[in-house]
């Protein structure tokens, strides 16, 4: 394969401006703005039906957009045929041609593009080499394992040397073990080939481990764009807070009011917000805290909040403790499995203010650790 390099060019490889897609009255994608830098690995993350696959198909040209503009490689692509957009797609079901061998499958896009036979052969073999498929070149797709089919699908994309790879949940049909293996392999491949990649997934672990930036979508709208740690540490709204992280962030409804120690949250529990919550104002609010930040403390601790253990789920070295806090708010804490808690135990917890997030009445993040000031 030819030498590939990430360009330092600040111009985006792919840019979406106010992109919308409606099916009749249903809005699958609503006014999405997104600029993707060359060489970047972007994960489109969201629950099923959030419009992430539709967005990918719009970029590929497999669906016509209702409104907006799509630029691929700096060129307006709205009216370009899929094959003219210089992007390659890897489908969830692999979409290999069953009547062609691996060699024919991988070489097909080149052959259709009028590349001379000798060159097709060389490029197919180079791609097969890269993906460890050389021994399977003469086989048919139905003679391959799931992982091998997945590699053939990747090979078919790589061989075109496109401007960008579009991947539509490429690992979701593999079993758990193979998925983890292919995830690493994909990442290694991305580092090696260095092409812009848009990766659609509903699996937050895939998104968190692979992506440079995550685009989190819900109901056709982008909820947040950011690096995996930004998304995790500073979720833009309650949806993001709930969606990313396992077990999800605990959210408690309440009000923020002026108290003796400064702004104070009144909900299932009372919490003095103290300093460092610049954006916080009085009114309806939702408090968020991640399960791993909840501490179990002695009853004598000044910040202790009473809780009753409802259920304990052991997950290897940790336990997820489902509990009812202050007699009303269900919360989950991740604690060391060594803390031998049982159903029905009365315990005391502490919510460290430095790990608390606040969301306003509309669910938007207003303050918290790593706030976006």
């Amino acid at each position: 394969m030819t030498e590939l390099h990430v360009s330092a060019n600040p111009d985006p490889a792919i840019e979406l401006i106010e992109v919308s897609k409606h099916y009749g009255k249903a809005e699958a994608v609503k006014a999405v703005d997104l600029a993707i830098a060359p060489g970047e690995f972007i994960a489109l993350l969201g629950p099923s039906g959030c419009g992430k696959s539709t967005l990918l198909k719009l970029i590929a040209g497999l669906e016509e957009l209702t409104d907006g503009e799509i630029y691929v490689g700096g060129k307006l692509a709205n009216y370009l045929k899929p094959s003219a957009r210089n992007v390659a797609m890897v489908f969830q079901n692999y979409a290999l041609y069953p009547h062609m061998t691996v060699r024919e499958n991988v070489g097909f896009p080149l052959k259709m593009g009028g590349v001379p036979g000798e060159q097709v052969k060389a490029r197919v073999e180079a791609a097969a080499n890269l993906l460890q498929l050389s021994a399977q070149l003469e086989r048919f797709p139905d003679e391959l394992s799931g992982g091998q089919r997945q590699r053939v699908a990747l090979g078919r994309a790589i061989v075109r040397e496109p401007l960008a790879f579009l991947m539509d949940e490429p690992l979701s049909n593999l079993d758990a073990l193979l998925r983890v293996e292919m995830r690493t392999e994909l990442l290694r491949l991305h580092k090696r080939v260095g092409r812009t990649t848009i990766y659609v997934t509903h699996d937050q672990i895939e998104a968190m481990t692979m992506a440079d930036r995550i685009v989190l979508m819900n109901k056709g709208e982008i909820q947040q764009i950011g690096s995996p740690s930004e998304i995790y540490e500073a979720p833009a709204n309650t949806f993001v807070a709930k969606f990313v992280g396992s077990p999800p962030m605990n959210l408690v409804e309440g009000r923020v009011e002026h108290g003796s120690g400064g702004l104070t949250f009144h909900g299932a529990m009372r919490l003095v917000a103290g300093k460092g919550f610049a954006g916080l104002s009085t009114g309806q609010a939702t408090l968020g805290v991640r399960p791993e930040h909840i501490e179990i403390v002695a009853a004598s601790h000044p910040d202790a909040i009473a809780a009753r253990v409802d259920l304990v789920e052991r997950v290897g070295s940790d336990s997820n403790v489902l509990m009812i806090v202050a007699g009303q708010a269900p919360m989950i804490a991740s604690v060391d499995a060594a803390a031998a808690l049982r159903e029905g135990d009365d315990i005391h917890i502490r919510i460290p203010p430095e790990h608390v997030h606040f969301f306003d009445a509309a669910g938007r993040r207003v303050a918290g650790k790593g706030a976006l000031q």
Binding site: P82, A95, P98, F108, P141, D142, G146, R156
Partner: protein, 301 residues
């Protein structure tokens, strides 16, 4: 453990063993009975299917006296070949055969092509009025062929096509059944296959020709066999659409043997047997195609 107890234990074990052997024997006997019953049933059905053919074959190998002998001679030996000689020398059989093969082949080739294209369009292309067209085709399926004969004749007549090959070839092309069948098959192909092809730079016709056609090959073969046999056996329309001797097809020709001064059953049987030959050959050739590479592998496991 005492010797007695040990002995009784051994005896007990042996009786258990004997019981098991008995049970195995009973099971085996039961299975054999089942198998016998199944084979008897299959044999009966085979007999019912084969007997008429055999009877016609027999009649074709007997002279006119032997045909009406009672009880019938089930293995005529030596066979009488005169009927076959007569069919070839005294009738226009070879011309009828040519007409039938020509018409049936032309109709089959054209129709498999047209039906698969129409099926592709109905299944995969989102054009205005697609639903209406499809419903219309379904409705047409419900119109009995007999009801169409007269209007069809006047239509073909008004085009001045009566007594031409066009009269035999064009009307069957309009039958919507094939396109509906093809639509159903093509609907079953995963959408991502076309999408992949589209990204690989194929246009609509290339997707149909290079991706869809190879994948529905078994369905094409089934359709081809249905169409070919249908044409091969069609009688009413060829009878009224052609009057010229040169355009008579097998079915009409064989039936006409009856009209020429009484029925020569030997001659009739021989022509019937001979007219089966092409269909039999077709089935033998295409049998293997039914086993064509299936879709497995394109989809998730």
């Amino acid at each position: 453990m005492s010797v007695m107890a040990e002995q009784s234990a051994v005896a007990g074990r042996q009786s258990v063993k004997r019981l098991a052997v008995d049970h195995a024997r009973i099971r085996l006997r039961k299975r054999r009975l089942h198998e016998l019953a199944r084979h008897l049933a299959l044999g009966l059905i085979t007999f019912l299917l084969v007997a008429p053919f055999y009877y016609v074959l027999l009649a074709s190998l007997k002279d006119s006296n032997a045909i009406f002998q009672y009880p019938p001679d089930l293995v005529p030996w030596p066979p009488y070949w005169g009927n076959y000689a007569n069919v070839l020398s005294h009738t226009n059989f070879l011309r009828w055969m040519f007409n039938t093969l020509f018409v049936a082949t032309t109709v089959t080739v054209l129709k498999v092509f047209l039906d698969s294209m129409a099926g592709y369009a109905l299944a995969k292309i989102d054009f205005t009025g697609r639903k209406a067209v499809f419903l219309l085709m379904l409705t047409l399926l419900m119109v009995p062929g007999g009801a169409l004969v007269v209007p069809l004749w006047s239509l073909v007549h008004s085009f001045g096509l009566i007594n031409t090959y066009f009269a035999l070839i064009l009307p069957p092309l309009a039958n919507p059944l094939g396109a509906i069948l093809m639509r159903q098959f093509i609907l079953g192909l995963p959408r991502d296959l076309e999408n992949a092809a589209r990204l690989d730079g194929l246009n609509e016709f290339q997707i149909y020709w290079r991706i869809v056609l190879p994948l529905i090959k078994p369905a094409l073969v089934v359709l081809a066999v249905i169409l070919f046999t249908d044409q091969f056996m069609s009688f009413i329309w060829p009878l009224i659409a052609t009057t010229s001797d040169d355009l008579i097809v097998l079915t009409v020709g064989v039936a006409s043997l009856r009209a020429h001064g009484g029925v020569d059953y030997g001659l009739w049987s021989a022509s019937a047997v001979m007219s089966l030959v092409p269909i039999a050959i077709l089935f033998f050739i295409l049998q293997r195609q039914f086993l064509a590479r299936s879709l497995a592998g394109a989809l998730k496991q």
